[in-house]
């Protein structure tokens, strides 16, 4: 009986990565290795002001004194940081004013990924800032957004054009010495996005960025900063797929969000970096620091993530609830298959009075993968009436994978109300047979059941993203269907 089920599940879960292709674009890159000279060169090539260089160098000096964190439930191979290229820019025309200026090959890559850079996006109501490797290639809608006073541009441009804003907020949520990978990112980050929503403005469109790792041996160090002033609202989407590659690639990003009084920021991610092949060879190492600061009273930050890719995921999108009555949410689906390892979750730090947080985490483990939820709920002494509810579910497919839950609670105020619920279930042979008997084949049945299981999280995603995410989950679990 058990073996029959294993056979079915093995068949459905042995699917290989569907987005493995490689674009041949001439690159402008620095040689491998990391040193103060390399950092100076990065800063120089990017034409950055002095304060940025100092910021980077300080982060680098901190990083040298730090060690790779080893507390996660992950088996991380040793990373040779001198064997990584820290700067690579596609060689293209220096300035891109319209679509015609975009490298046709680059455009073709985006098309293959189904990323419509074209003006159709305008109809769909999405402004896209596409990041390929290190340099921002094309920004749409900048003007439309600019009319409302919204700034949405690459972080490199922001550093040059809005140095005061960047200087004020960069590192204010994730300081350069926060952790090993954050320090590394702060030292060498190449590009990313900057969003600024002025007082009282609601962003009329969903903002989205697509990331993509594309150069051989290029470390990818994205940096995103979102600042929402009083009474503003923005929904930001991030999604990524990476080409298939044998050598492991390091990805250490930082996302910082600052929400002022009554501001609301929704940050959604669909992550599909190359997970490695069926035997666990290759794949992206994804070490991400994402943190939001609810600085103002009544502010709200909501993280939604659908994680299906990467060989190793180390990621804890967190909320620091500083303002009174502020609230944080974390909705997560983490799917691991084959030899993938994920250690992901959130931190909800309650500092203000009457702060609320909600955690909904859905783990799916298949193949020989290991999937861990790690969550911290911390209530400080002065955080009166803090509320937290956490729901952590795990779904197992087959008996060779693992699901783990590590909840941490630090409660320093007696008025706090903290609830944690956890369940573990298996996709049953009986559920699959029931679907089969209604004419639904096993692969579709698994898709149906998995999508039902994650519905609570997927519903948080904007419509077009939700559809993409559902497809992605099915693709990540399916076997032979092309």
């Amino acid at each position: 009986m058990a073996t029959e089920q294993d056979k079915i599940l093995e068949e459905v879960t042995k699917g290989e990565y569907k987005y493995g292709f490689y674009t041949d674009i001439e690159m402008d890159m620095l040689p491998k290795g990391l040193s103060e000279e390399v950092i100076k060169e990065i800063s120089k090539r990017k034409g950055e002001p002095e304060f940025m260089l100092e910021y980077r160098l300080e982060a680098y000096r901190n990083w040298l004194k730090m060690e790779t964190p080893d507390w996660a439930h992950l088996n991380i191979p040793e990373i040779d940081f001198q064997d990584i290229i820290y700067y690579a820019a596609p060689k293209s025309k220096p300035k891109l004013d319209s679509m015609d200026d975009v490298d046709p090959e680059l455009k073709a890559t985006f098309d293959k990924l189904g990323i419509p850079l074209e003006e159709q996006k305008q109809l769909a109501g999405v402004a896209v800032d596409a990041v390929m490797d290190s340099v921002s290639v094309k920004t749409t809608f900048r003007e439309t957004l600019a009319e409302k006073g919204i700034i949405f541009c690459s972080i490199s441009d922001a550093i040059k054009e809005y140095p005061d804003l960047v200087k004020k907020h960069l590192g204010s949520v994730v300081p350069p010495n926060d952790n090993y990978f954050a320090a590394l990112n702060s030292a060498v980050f190449s590009d990313g996005s900057f969003v600024y929503i002025p007082k009282g403005v609601r962003s009329p469109v969903e903002l989205s960025t697509y990331f993509r790792i594309n150069a051989m041996n290029t470390g990818q160090f994205e940096r995103t900063l979102i600042v929402a002033e009083d009474d503003s609202y923005v929904s930001y989407l991030e999604g990524c797929t990476a080409p298939q590659r044998d050598e492991n690639q390091l990805h250490a990003a930082i996302v910082e969000i600052v929400a002022m009084e009554r501001a609301e920021v929704k940050y959604s991610t669909v992550q599909n970096w190359y997970p490695g092949d069926k035997d666990g060879k290759g794949g992206i190492y994804n070490f991400v620091t994402k943190r939001g600061l609810c600085k103002g009273d009544y502010s709200k930050i909501s993280w939604t993530q659908v994680e299906t890719g990467s060989a190793i995921t180390w990621k804890y999108p967190s909320c620091v609830l500083m303002g009174d009555h502020s609230s944080g949410e974390f909705y997560s689906v983490a799917l691991t298959n084959n030899h993938q390892q994920a250690d992901t979750g959130t931190k909800m730090i309650h500092l203000g009075k009457n702060t609320k947080s909600l955690v909904v985490s859905k783990g799916i483990s298949a193949g020989k993968s290991q999937n861990s939820y790690r969550g911290l709920v911390k209530v400080s002494k002065r955080a009166e009436n803090a509320r937290n509810f956490s729901q952590c579910d795990s779904l197992l497919m087959g008996d060779k994978c693992g699901a783990h839950t590590f909840p941490y609670l630090e409660i320093n105020n007696n008025s706090a109300k903290v609830e944690h619920e956890a369940t573990t279930s298996k996709i049953g042979e009986d559920q699959i047979f029931y679907c089969n008997q209604r004419g639904i084949d096993t692969e579709s049945a698994v898709g149906l059941i998995v999508n039902g299981y994650v519905k609570e999280v997927i519903n948080q995603l904007p419509m077009e993203f939700a559809v993409e995410a559902q497809k992605l989950l099915e693709i990540s679990l399916e076997g032979s269907v092309g």
């Binding site: 029931y434 089969n436 008997q437 209604r438 639904i440 299981y453």
Partner: protein, 251 residues
Amino acid sequence: MLSIKNLHAKIEDKEILRGIDLKVKPGEVHAIMGPNGSGKSTLASVLAGNEMFEVSEGEVQFNGKDILEMAPEDRAREGLFLSFQYPVEIPGVSMVNFLRTSINELRKYREEKPLSASEFLKLMREKKNLVDIDSDLTNRSVNEGFSGGEKKKNEIFQMAMLEPKLSILDETDSGLDIDALRVVANGVNKLKRPDNATVLITHYQRLLEYIVPDYVHVLYHGRIVKTGGKELAHELEANGYDWIKKEFGDK
């Protein structure tokens, strides 16, 4: 429509079906009765293609096709429907989504166009009235949090939606109160047509007061030991299964 010849099946090394012969023609209702452990539910599972059981001998033809070689989903697409004794809960999957997927898989197999959302909802409304099922049930996840009776009604509702050629109702009457039993029986009677057939698997005669079978078979120790008309069911009700056990018990 259905022709079973000398069917043997086992689970692990235990033989449960030991040579079943049965013929079902369009328009007929057959009842299969028997004491607990006689192999009734195994027969239903084997016909539906549950891989827990291994068929060791015999053949089963459905619509002139050998279905023992078919995957369970293809048997369903051919028009074989099993109303489960214990319908499974699938949390998070709405009845609407589940049934629409199911119907469209069946239509695809018959090379018909998938139903649009509005056509589907219309069909659902019609069938809901036909089998008298609460609207509320179809707005929930598949069988999740349903009472025993609701689960059984839901099976009949799915049967109404999918319009199978052959329906096998596995102990659909067990655990039902009299009202639910009536709803289920009415549903089955209304869905009866000259071109479809029903096999009722039941321990008790009770259901047969509402659904009148053309044939009653008694299954015992993996074989059909007695076949008769509806009066056989009355006999079983009055005398129990002991006389069967005495007459056909293994030595």
